[in-house]
Assembly symmetry: D2
Homo-oligomer: 332 residues x 4
């Protein structure tokens, strides 16, 4: 249940009321909002006098649901806004991993030259083998921060686990919660306490319901700037790395109010399929597209097969722009 | 291995040579073609003198592979051609099941009014319960044939099992091999002996390799008019009926030379998601789109939730046309 | 809905009543039984006077359900009975494919020497590639029949599609409906018209509900001798060929009244894992175990990696016998 | 590559050599062991003189592999030893969540009364909804510690994320890394630095290879006391909660040297199926069995449907003991 309290109640009082009924308390657009589990179907008598409006739910997708708020939410990333009625698809590019200053600067220059604003690059890589390249860690974060200063780019990077989430929050403009980390409450609860945008990737074995509930951890904790990212399910098909779930995207667009970013690079796993999949994604009217690009994919320290080279990345923009326009969107 | 025999060898001699090495023999574009399993890596000495050209393969995707023929094949459906360099997406519409003459005529009139050419409608429904509506069978086929005569439409309908495959071949313009029937060699071998186009749907538990190998049954048996249709995988996600595998489509486009039709209706299972998925499909540059539409979905005898009504179907065309154009395709 | 008609109604009258309400009619243990879809929740007024007893269902698992008949059904295979209170696990052995008279006789002699009664061997192989060995077909059926005559063995073999189902029914003692054919209504409806036992394998992409509904096709058509066989699901895990679903077996034991046979050979795909999985299967108290064994697996024409050699097959019996006894079963 | 250094090299020197080739260094059974990625196929010249023995691998399953060490490892939990040649299956019982002192003491008394030694109970619950019961946290750990003191039981509990891993390490006898946390390097690396046993559960979307690689994080970091736990995959089948992968267990037994514990409770999701699945598990000759039991499952704060009540748990022991004996194992 979501409850909007009356305007004469201040935040402190609201927190007290929340505690009484064991609910979360947040302030949203000047409103005191209480959120309890969907098991609560009636407003408790004890607080009835303070309630302005309330919503009852079948399941624990509450703040993110269209029943609660029918308009798609807006999220600001630096000066850029996505979601809402922007009808804009933010093209985010950059390498799988930050490998060196020289390499990440090349990527930053590519983006700037194309008029793009948002640079991706992994610093804490969630590798499944301890014997693979694990990322540059804090050093990588510093390199991303440097690119922001030099080029005015927004940067997005991933937290692998809760031990370094505060560093990631400090140094990035969008905090990425990776597919393997999206159940990590240490990360989710930390993200709830900042106001920076949080991009949550769907786990490859994660249901739509669990995916949106991960967003509920952040939303109910007080951060409304949540973006959902679909990047492919693990299925029996092994000729592609994962199976991009665009049926699931149609479901998310219908049932949730959160901006949606798609990542065809990880889903496909092979660069040859990325442009054609990117066109499919953009045709759905989405809020962002996450594409891995590396100046020389063949020597990349991770995900070599799926990264576009810089020339392919430039072509990609030319390919997806008319598709975006055909559905009333612009690529930003 | 695929072998092209020299031009001085006639079909009868070619058949004899095929038998000698236990290979399939077909005639394609005037050429005598032998096909053996991919295990054969060298031309047998005994036939070497007759060989013009040959191709060796890693696996049993041979005739359908880009290594053998790099150009996408053309398939003619009545006067309409898809595949090749047509850059055309054939919009196929109609109800899940043929239910009555009145109902299927309404569907036919809808298509004709929209300038479309190809009517779908199931007669032998592969229902998983014996207690559900099983389709009108032969009576349905006769109704479809009537629509062809009245309106000049091409019709496509599904064979459920081998007991009625010859009736389906006789009465339809495109023979649909359904997702549950695509391993059925009784059906596939019968389809190989006609020259009518065959649309093979991928099973929901079928790998890309097995899918294309089903096409190889038809191709190696002598029918080159094969179309592949992706309609969704069965995954752990149950908020949508299936999971449309567009990564798989990217793989098929890269590795096979067969035209591709997509069916977002069955994948999604809910009409609200069909238009947005259809846009994603069309943006990939595909040869056809299979959409279920019913004059009154709420009373449909099968698949009620996923069929568009006629007004939604008309809107769909308006929605997908600009997307097709944005990738250089036209909807036909 | 299942309806038992009163005893004063003869079969002909019963058929008439069935037609009136569009239901199936069978005779079971001297009772006239009508079966309609689970959508029917009330006995139609028109036939009320003739009804002795009736059962209402949530879904289309009706004749196979424990709500209808709580006791596990018995099925006779020649002189052998499984199911019911037999507490017996029938060990069925033999090669994947019948390859030659000599080969299948070796297998038959192995079984007879071990005191076993039931020989398996494929004649129509449902291969996914047209370029693989497809089985000996009718010639294989004749070889199996010969083994029955020579050794008094019961034989079980698979129908691949409806074109040869009548031959399989004629020549085998148990008709196997394979994992790829279990939606094939041409096969299922033919099986419903014989009284020979039918073993239905679960498709690798088939839900438990669909699986049992395939059995309902046979049961409602008049053949009560149905056996269910679990042989593994297709999942993302590729280090084993399939994933044997023993949770599903626990569900089947709880909710259905049909005997259950397990096939660890196909599930595992590698002979090293067959014995230990066979022990797990037998510990569940099952009615049969299907094991592939070949006199020389390395030269087998199909499924080479998963077949036990004859010595391993003999050891298997020694390994599973104490496990069966520990749960109150005997291996027969 | 795994390298055993010569005996004349001390630990400090070994660490230096490891650094030189960018390898992990551990000491195992008095040996200095270096581990590098499986990409290394030759011993580097620079260190050749110090190498006693080395192993080359196809993939990053190295320390856990039978190629490196063919004998199953032993792990000590308090006074109890599992693995190796113990032929013992440790029955671990207790509630899903620690809910109160009274409740967990009841569970402890049950175990002690049955002669069992190891109590499970969740304190940090990895719930997918923020609105569900999240566990008692540190208070729960203290209750478990109290049970250890009162009853001499070993306790096992789960770390949900890296923020509280050190508390879990401090208070439990076996650290459980849950299915949703098993990619969490913050947890895995912390577990590598203790010598307490670590039980890693396989994620429901995790391949066998990734599962064992999670163990490699702990092993290569210096803790050899690793136990693998299979608890079910997420598949398309929803009539059971998950699909227990016993084919995967057969693979693990063949290819890895780590003790294996099975958790049929989570896999099945319904108490009715737990005993029969437990028998299947035990018949495979496993090192432990994890069963959820609650004094009153109907009021449990989590996983109500799958927990046995105390009387069922006692019966379970009677049911599995003869099965264990039939494969030469004892329940401890």
């Amino acid at each position: 249940m979501i409850i909007h309290l009356k305007d004469n109640i201040n935040a402190e009082q609201a927190a007290g009321i929340a505690e009484k009924i064991n609910a979360f308390h947040t302030v949203s657009q000047g409103k005191n909002v209480l959120i309890s589990g969907s098991g609560m179907k009636d407003v408790p008598n004890a607080i009835e006098a303070h309630v302005d409006q309330f919503w009852v739910f079948d399941n624990d997708i509450q703040l993110a649901s269209r029943e609660y708020q029918d308009e798609k939410r807006e999220v600001k990333i630096g000066d850029v806004t996505i979601g809402g009625h922007q009808n804009a698809t933010l093209l985010i590019g950059g390498p799988c991993s930050v490998e060196s200053e020289d390499q990440i600067r090349d990527a930053a220059q590519l983006l700037v030259g194309m008029g793009l604003t948002t640079l991706r690059g992994g610093c804490y890589k969630p590798r499944t083998s301890p014997y693979s390249f694990q990322g540059l860690g804090l050093e990588g974060l510093h390199l991303l921060a440097k690119m922001r200063e030099e080029f005015g780019l927004n940067v997005i990077t991933e937290a692998r686990d809760a031990t370094h989430i505060h560093e990631v929050i400090e140094h990035s403009d969008v905090i990425q919660v990776g597919a393997k980390a999206m159940y990590d409450q240490g990360i989710l609860r930390a993200c709830a306490k900042t106001q920076k945008p949080v991009l949550i990737k769907r786990g490859f074995g994660t249901t739509l319901k669990e995916f949106v509930q991960a967003a509920e951890f952040v939303l109910s904790g007080g951060n409304e700037n949540v973006i959902l990212c679909e990047r492919g399910l693990r299925t029996f098909e092994t000729n592609t790395r994962f199976t991009l779930d665009l049926c699931g995207v149609a479901w998310l667009q219908e049932h949730t109010n959160l901006p949606i970013v798609l990542d065809p690079s990880h889903a496909m796993g092979y660069s040859y399929g990325v442009p054609v999949l990117a066109k499919a994604c953009v045709a759905m009217g989405i809020d962002g597209l996450l594409i891995e690009a590396h100046r020389n994919p063949s020597v990349a320290k991770s995900d070599a097969s799926q990264q576009l080279n810089h020339s392919e990345f430039k072509q990609l923009l030319d390919q997806i722009r008319p598709v975006a326009e055909s559905v009333g969107y612009k690529i930003i």
